[in-house]
Homo-oligomer: 313 residues x 2
């Protein structure tokens, strides 16, 4: 009888693995390093070996295993085929087939990492109790995942939920990591908050601020200054909250989710960011969607293993 | 044996009805007026009577009928319950239950009209062959419908696909019909094009244009002038194309559809509008989604009956 399943979250530095019961309980989690040498050609083999070792250690046979879900940092274009994981050195790769081959034809499913995290949060985290959520991770970049009726919205090109790249300002002169200009990520990622801080201080030389004492102010410096009622910091945070609230309003006009689940480092700033975002959201959302719920992500770094195992269960 | 199904498209002036085979062939279509008196309380009864008459005429028994789908001009909040069809005078109404009661407990399903039109176009119109489309109707307003894996994305509040209300410009001073400012609809509906024309002529008094000879230039006047290479008209169209192309790019970053299907009066303008829109789309879309297809809607006013019957079949 199938009693177990694996959730795998393949990141640029480490691979996180989780052994779950088919009831969805996490039995054990561990990590292995992501070996990116030789265009990452050892990664899939390393994962397979680690799973085999765990199975031996726990006396689990292949008949006991329902399958494994794997979250990858790139676009999943088709049934388990991944298109360019730049971080890993991968081009087009059939992850499903390769991993399945190394694990006695185990059932493997593949998802984009941000989408898997969204599914994990809906299942066991901040989105619990909802059917349709949009998860937004405000980290170094802005990641996103759209879950509709409990299922990942992958998109025709694996770009469903790429909400960090919603065009917010067509007049932006600085370039986003994706090559476009004016993406949401340029304003409300941790990097975006820092960029907006430097820009504000440069363009408003007359405004005093404790942030001027810091050589390279980070998002955290900004939030700390805002909590100390620094006027400039409060203005910058407000500017960004308006952009993020508007981003959520735009998303609602397209998919109208039950709830937004917010994660990532920036969300740790708490009410100083979230209160303003919610206020701007309510002011700019289409009237029917004004009361969409906002929740905080709860699973942290485990969201990926939860979400990836969920696609198997 | 179930051989037939009905598609019903309830509009503010007429109700369009279609008798379909369960194979999806349209056997016959007809219309009845929408009687809006007394807060529209006669509408459901009129529809039921019209269906009964058609069944008698064609010697169809209730056992022969799989069900009826009905498209309504308002938000569908829950299994067949409609929240405010302002045009019809309706408040909250259980359309599914009321219509089913009048038709011997026939299976009834209810969808928003723009969403039903999108489903119809995917099934039998411009979106044929695709699984996931976003339909955009550029008419008096801007309507939208999102279809993912062949299913309508209704949204938690029935506001899925309300893409006419994507916030395009937070600095807009004029107010949209929805009460917000800066909605896509304010720029690229027929009314929006006309508004942008008047605004441009007012703000660029030095620019000559044949549009100045027309007292109240419409969207059609604008497109006609652009086709005659009127410089001002070309500039206005370009401005709007940039906004619409950007709107599509934003939608792609959220749901990444296979294709956009464009309908409504403005789409009749043809390449003078569409070429620019596609160009701006490609320039502003997230790289993975740059090659999303653009198709023209094909079913015209029949999209609603096709889409509403599809939800039953």
């Amino acid at each position: 009888m199938e009693k177990y399943a694996f959730g795998i979250d393949l990141g640029g530095t480490t691979v996180k693995l989780g052994l779950f019961t088919t009831e969805g309980e996490l039995e054990e989690k561990w990590e292995i390093p992501t070996r990116k040498e030789k265009n990452g050609e050892m990664i899939i083999g390393d994962i397979a070996s680690s799973i085999r070792e765990k199975m031996e250690e726990k006396h689990i046979s292949f008949e006991d295993v329902k399958g494994a879900g794997i979250a990858v940092p790139g676009a999943v274009i088709d049934d388990g085929i991944v298109n360019k994981c730049v971080n890993l050195g991968w081009g087009v790769k059939n992850v499903r087939k390769e991993l399945s081959y190394l694990l006695e034809e185990m059932t493997i499913k593949v998802a984009n990492d941000a989408n898997a995290a969204a599914l994990g949060e809906m299942w066991k985290g901040g989105g619990r109790g909802y059917d349709s959520i949009v998860m937004v991770t405000l980290g170094t970049g802005v990641g996103g995942g759209v879950i509709i009726d409990g299922k990942i919205l992958n998109g025709a090109n694996g770009a469903g939920g790429e909400i960090g790249h919603i065009n917010i300002d067509p007049e932006e002169t600085e370039v986003c990591g994706c090559g476009n200009r004016g993406c949401l990520e340029q304003y409300v990622s941790a990097t975006g908050y820092a960029r907006m801080t430097k820009k504000y201080l440069r363009e408003n030389k007359e405004k005093p601020s404790i942030l001027r004492d810091i050589e390279e102010p980070t998002a955290k410096d900004l939030f700390d200054a805002a909590k100390q009622h620094d006027g400039a910091a409060l203005e910058i945070v407000d500017k960004c909250s308006k952009i993020l609230g508007r981003g959520f309003a735009i998303i609602s006009a397209v998919v109208d989710p039950d709830a937004f689940v917010i994660g990532g480092g920036v969300s740790k700033a708490g009410d100083i960011v979230l209160d303003g975002v919610k206020e701007y959201y309510r002011a700019m959302a289409f009237h029917a969607s004004r009361d969409t719920k906002f929740e905080l992500a709860k699973l942290g770094n485990d969201a990926g293993i939860y979400g990836s195992v969920k696609i198997i269960l």
